[in-house]
């Protein structure tokens, strides 16, 4: 919210004088963070208040005048050329930009001839000083203006001030006005609050009546309703300083009536509403809930459909305002209004918020009501507005209608000193809490060595509990007064399994992949880019109800699309060689599951690992070798082994829609599929605009078994030997089949079998390939003889030939 420093100071009698910067620092330290500090008068300089002495026509231009001005009684008279049509009579004050003055936009004035007469500067309009919209003539100060001659123009127009942009805590409705902020500053700095003048007796017709009764149907929604009547108003612009202050806090001045209601709202935090009394028919204001489905046109000319929860102000039975949110079009004050019914009410926060939210209406008034406006201030604010309108010529009815069925009384709260010290971790002098709470306007009902009984002031809705008072004592006592300590560890942390996501990250980074982190949401187009069949859970994404863009409209069901996006993006910047992975959550829809209690509606969130490879492998000089499917397989196996310490086997699959049907495999651990690898389907990568092949792997982390600590196996003491075997087999026989055959034999002398070569050639019989294997033999207790090996090897070869349908070559 915007607070003007000098306006604020009008309500403070501080124990020590402060600059705006010091004030900002003090508020910030007490939790009212001043996020911006603007010198409102910095836009121009060298412009002073001057009095018109005389004027005469310019000798050679009809529309120009030569105006004589002084900046001190009996001072030197200067002639300034002025083209404005509204040069005032002698004795009135204007604003003179002298030679050397700088104006908004950076122009510096020099003496310059205007149609042959040299003018020492100029007389300024609102637009020239960038303080308003009036470009029809120069600024002429009001006759009642008391700014001394020669004073900076900033003082005269009300921009000799600092504007604070304050981050107001959401629970502090009481500081959404300058008086409220003054209470706060006084509490922090010391001093007392000076309330503005409300003595309107000079403008009051004591016998005049309001002419309206007030009936509150539901006191839980409207705690108080104060009505005043002001007659005989002449709608005109409000005084210049009032208008300027409103502009400075971001409100456009309208006329004296509207401006006063706004001014008092920014002064006291109490929203006011002015009805044109001539447009009200029934002599009775009724505050009641709306009839569901009824219509009401607010003063922004929008017809709204209401629900029963909405609160209305009615003229008899006719709705005239949406309580606390916005007035109605039909009872709006206009430039012809002379007779006003002024509302100052206490609408309760949640109701205003619900209506405002539902209708998408957020006003200065609703903003305040949503954060609690003190009903105890309603009468004072009404009186203040009446006083200001009285000053502008209004006649105030002596009667005040104040419907205040159940004045709110805040309950006393007990503050235990021991509790304060326990929460703070520090001790305070015995009277510190009492002193601070008194500064805040609290009443100390009782004080013992152990505790205080405290009644907060009516505007501090937020002080209902002991902890609230403790916070206030710490806040104003200074958080800096609390030392820093290290909390005692009473119990060792619970056992924790290593985070598999991090285990995989480490393994893949060591293997040479780089980690990407992409958004948890993605576009529906990307979800569908994988070509998943409708019965695949990943084909149905979870949409956001209020996404910011189509690119972030649904939750991802696979990590692959965002990574393919990263590959494409890298390529667009000339980075064609990618080796990326991501470890993260995907979000799968699942039917509401009541057995999960509160979590019934949550997604099935699964942790996945996906890697993508494009372009070439890292190489010393010009990279020449491209990644291929077996790189993807290798990285996948490394990741799985890091988590599970278990052997991985693979078999071909042609059914993963986003992988090339002939260049893809399933990864299996303990007979269960845990992931896939292969070349990304060319049609899928084409949707991302990727030109070359991309190889990928994916692993479902939840599917992996946990690893036990590795156990050492004995180191062989005797040398082993190996035999190579070349087999001609059908293309359909996987290379890994030979290992399965060998493993099934479980011969104690056979150590391992390794593929040395896969050879495909047109010279081989059609549909066949030649496989070269090496089988290792070793005995634990002796050096093997040729004869030992020969017997086993011959049997093994026979078995292989038979089971693989192979020919030995």
């Amino acid at each position: 919210m915007k607070i003007l420093w000098n306006w604020l100071l009008e309500y403070c009698d501080l124990d020590r004088a402060m600059t705006a910067e010091q004030g900002a620092a003090a508020l910030t330290k007490a939790g009212l963070e001043v996020e911006g500090l603007t010198d409102l008068g910095a836009g121009f300089s060298g412009v002073v208040v001057a009095e018109v002495v005389s004027k005469k026509p310019h000798p050679s231009a009809d529309k120009l005048n030569i105006v004589s001005v002084i900046t001190a009684r009996g001072g030197e008279v200067t002639e300034v050329v002025c083209g404005a049509p509204n040069v005032p009579a002698p004795g009135r004050k204007v604003l003179w930009a002298q030679i050397g003055a700088t104006l908004p936009g950076g122009m510096t004035l020099a003496a310059k001839p205007v149609k042959g007469v040299v003018s020492p500067g100029m007389l300024c309009s609102e637009v020239e000083l960038a303080i308003g919209d009036d470009d029809d003539g120069i600024i002429v100060l009001a006759e009642s203006d008391t700014t001394p001659l020669g004073a900076p123009a900033q003082v005269a127009v009300g921009v000799d001030d600092w504007m604070f942009e304050i981050k107001a805590p959401a629970n502090r409705g009481d500081i959404l006005g300058h008086v409220g902020m003054a209470r706060e500053l006084v509490s922090i700095v010391g001093g007392r609050v000076v309330l503005p003048n409300v003595d309107a007796s000079a403008f009051t017709d004591v016998d005049a009546k309001v002419g309206f009764a007030v009936e509150i149907a539901d006191a839980t929604r409207c705690e108080r309703y104060v009505a005043r009547r002001i007659r005989g108003l002449a709608v005109a612009p409000a005084p210049r300083k009032m208008r300027q202050r409103l502009r400075n806090v971001g409100v456009r001045p309208i006329n004296n009536l509207v401006d006063v209601t706004n001014y008092v709202m920014f002064e006291l935090g109490q929203p006011l509403h002015a009805f044109d009394a001539a447009k009200l028919q029934h002599g009775k204001i009724v505050v009641r809930n709306a009839v569901a489905g009824s219509k009401f046109t607010t003063l922004d000319s929008v017809e709204r459909t209401l629900v029963a929860d909405d609160l209305l102000i009615c003229d008899g039975a006719t709705p005239v305002a949406l309580a606390g949110v916005m007035g109605g079009l039909d009872s709006e004050v206009t430039s012809t209004t002379t007779d006003v019914l002024l509302e100052s009410a206490g609408f309760t926060a949640l109701g205003v918020r619900r209506t405002g939210r539902r209708l998408g209406l957020h006003s200065e008034a609703s903003h305040r009501f949503e954060r609690n406006v003190d009903p105890a201030m309603a009468e004072f604010a009404s009186a203040r507005a009446a006083f200001l309108l009285g000053q502008m010529g209004g006649q105030i009815a002596g009667e005040v209608v104040d419907a205040n069925p159940a004045p709110r009384k805040l309950a006393p709260v007990v503050l235990r000193h021991a509790r304060l010290h326990a929460i703070a971790g520090a001790t305070f002098a015995a009277d510190t809490a009492e002193r601070i709470l008194r500064q805040l306007g609290c009443t100390i009902e009782a004080s013992t060595a152990a505790e205080l009984t405290v009644t907060p002031p009516t505007h501090r809705f937020d002080l209902g509990r002991e902890i609230d008072l403790i916070e206030e004592v710490l806040r104003l006592g200074g958080y800096d007064a609390v030392p820093d300590t290290i909390p005692r560890l009473r119990q060792a942390p619970a056992l924790q399994a290593p985070d598999r996501q991090d285990v995989v990250r480490h393994a893949l980074v060591q293997a040479g992949l780089s980690e990407a982190i992409t958004f948890g949401f993605t576009s529906e187009t990307r979800v569908q880019s994988l070509g998943l069949p409708p019965d695949d859970r990943r084909a149905t994404s979870i949409p956001l109800k209020n996404p910011m863009s189509l690119d972030q409209a649904v939750m991802r069901t696979s990590l692959l699309p965002n990574l393919l996006g990263a590959v494409a993006r890298n390529a667009s910047f000339g980075e064609h060689d990618c080796a990326l992975f991501e470890v993260g959550s995907v979000f799968l829809a699942r039917p509401r599951d009541p057995s999960l209690g509160r979590d019934a509606g949550l997604a099935d969130e699964q942790h996945m690992v996906v890697g993508v490879l494009s372009g070439k492998r890292p190489a010393q000089l010009a990279a020449t070798t491209a990644w291929d499917v077996f790189d993807a397989k290798g990285f996948a196996e490394r990741a799985i082994e890091a988590v599970s310490n278990a052997p991985v086997v693979s078999r071909a699959t042609a059914t993963v829609p986003y992988l090339h049907p002939g260049l893809a495999g399933e990864l299996m651990v303990n007979g269960l599929v845990v992931g896939h690898f292969g070349e990304v389907h060319p049609a899928v990568r084409a949707k991302f605009g990727i030109d070359g092949p991309v190889f990928a792997f994916e692993i479902a982390l939840a599917a992996l078994p946990s690893a036990a600590p590795r156990q050492m196996t004995s180191i062989a003491k005797f040398p082993g030997t190996s035999r190579d075997i070349s087999l001609l087999v059908d293309n359909s026989v996987p290379a890994s089949r030979a290992a399965e055959v060998v493993a099934a034999q479980a011969h104690p002398l056979v150590q391992s079998i390794r593929v040395l070569e896969e050879f495909r050639d047109a010279k081989l019989p059609p549909g066949t390939k030649s496989m070269l294997y090496s089988i290792s033999y070793r005995a634990a207790d002796r050096t093997l003889t040729d004869a030992d090996v020969e017997t086993v090897h011959t049997a093994l070869v026979k078995q292989l030939v038979q089971e693989l349908g192979a020919q030995q070559r």
Partner: protein
């Protein structure tokens, strides 16, 4: 054939020696040298063959012949050794004659890059582990109840405006902070509770300093006798360990519905120092003058998160006795910590998968 005399045999031995030299001189490998050595010195070698004549030499002359034989054998063996030595020297010299251009690029060893956010997260976990904090986690799509209501933000609470929320359903949201993990932990575990919860969170915000997804690190300690001073001590420890510098922290009163007293946490700016103070950080990187610092705008402070004492209302929601137990919680942005330590200028870089960024860390 007449019986040989000693001088003739000795002359023949000497001739063998000369023949050996001639045979061995051109050889360049050990195997050939050994073969020639065997030809002369082997059991059936030429020296042995010649010695078969020895019985025919008058006995008185035999010692002279014997001596000559030993001399020749010795000479051949010495020559074999020296020849092998020469070859080894020549081979070594040839090997040492090789040279390369060492300025050519290295053959790259596998070099993947851990994302800088992961690095900061892991390091933060390690620092908190020193104080006994364990890692906890929760879902990114969470209930409105865990995310707001149990944290003292009922529906229609104005504080919800502070965190513009992505909704999945009326009662399901993308979590706007990691604080729901506090709730889940406190529901599942009795005090003492010491956890940190790093994780992705989402807010409807997108500008140079905000990303719709970012990463928070939540910290919660609930036990008997936990105070605001403990909160300060733990924050201070973390900041100092993470930046390896005696930085100060400052708590400013602030409002979060689920903590009271609540605070914004400021850290002394890690980029700058007052004139006359340190000129470099613990890693030797130069510090700029505080009045010229654009990170803290000369204030000396940068905001890193929110903190406070767990509000009794939150304890009530999870069934913890707030008279017996007190606790503190804080949350901070991991992106922010990475920015402050690594000089990262724009939050969007973290999520683009751009190798030119990832490779730098």
């Amino acid at each position: 054939m007449s019986s040989p005399d000693s001088s003739s045999l000795i002359a023949q031995l000497d001739a063998l020696a000369a023949q050996f030299e001639a045979a061995v001189a051109p050889l360049v490998d050990e195997q050939s040298i050994r073969a020639v050595q065997a030809q002369f010195l082997g059991k059936k070698g030429r020296v042995s063959e010649l010695m078969k004549e020895l019985p025919k030499v008058p006995p008185a002359e035999r010692p002279a012949v014997g001596a000559a034989t030993n001399r020749v054998k010795q000479a051949i063996e010495t020559r074999v050794e020296s020849k092998l030595q020469e070859l080894a020297s020549a081979a070594l010299a040839a090997d040492l004659a090789r040279s390369i251009d060492v300025s050519l690029p290295a053959r790259p060893a596998p070099a993947g890059h851990m994302h800088v956010l992961t690095q900061v997260r892991l390091e933060s976990i390690a620092i908190f582990a020193e104080l006994g904090f364990a890692v906890a986690s929760g879902p990114q799509i969470d209930t409105d109840w865990h995310t707001f209501e149990a944290l003292a933000m009922p529906k229609d609470h104005p504080a919800r405006d502070m965190q513009d929320t992505f909704y999945i359903a009326d009662d399901v949201v993308l979590r706007t902070h990691t604080s729901p993990v506090q709730i889940r932990t406190m529901l599942n575990q009795a005090p003492p509770i010491r956890i940190i919860a790093p994780g992705h969170v989402y807010r409807r915000d997108d500008d140079p300093t905000h990303s719709p997804m970012f990463t928070q690190l939540e910290c919660l300690l609930v036990d008997e006798g936990i105070s605001f001073a403990d909160l300060k001590g733990v924050l201070l420890h973390y900041v100092r360990r993470f930046f390896a510098r005696d930085l100060a922290i400052r708590l400013r009163p602030s409002y979060f519905p689920f903590v009271e007293p609540g605070a914004e946490v400021d850290m002394e700016c890690s980029f700058c120092a007052l004139p006359g103070a340190a000129t470099a950080n613990a890693w030797g990187q130069p510090l700029i003058r505080r009045d010229e610092c654009r990170v803290c705008k000369g204030t000396g402070w940068v905001e890193i998160g929110g903190a406070g004492m767990v509000d009794p209302e939150v304890f009530a929601h999870v069934g913890i006795d707030s008279e017996k137990y007190t606790g503190f919680a804080f949350g901070m942005g991991i992106e922010r910590m990475a920015m402050l330590r690594h000089g990262i200028s724009d939050i969007k870089y973290y999520y683009e998968g751009d190798l030119r960024f990832l490779r730098q860390f």
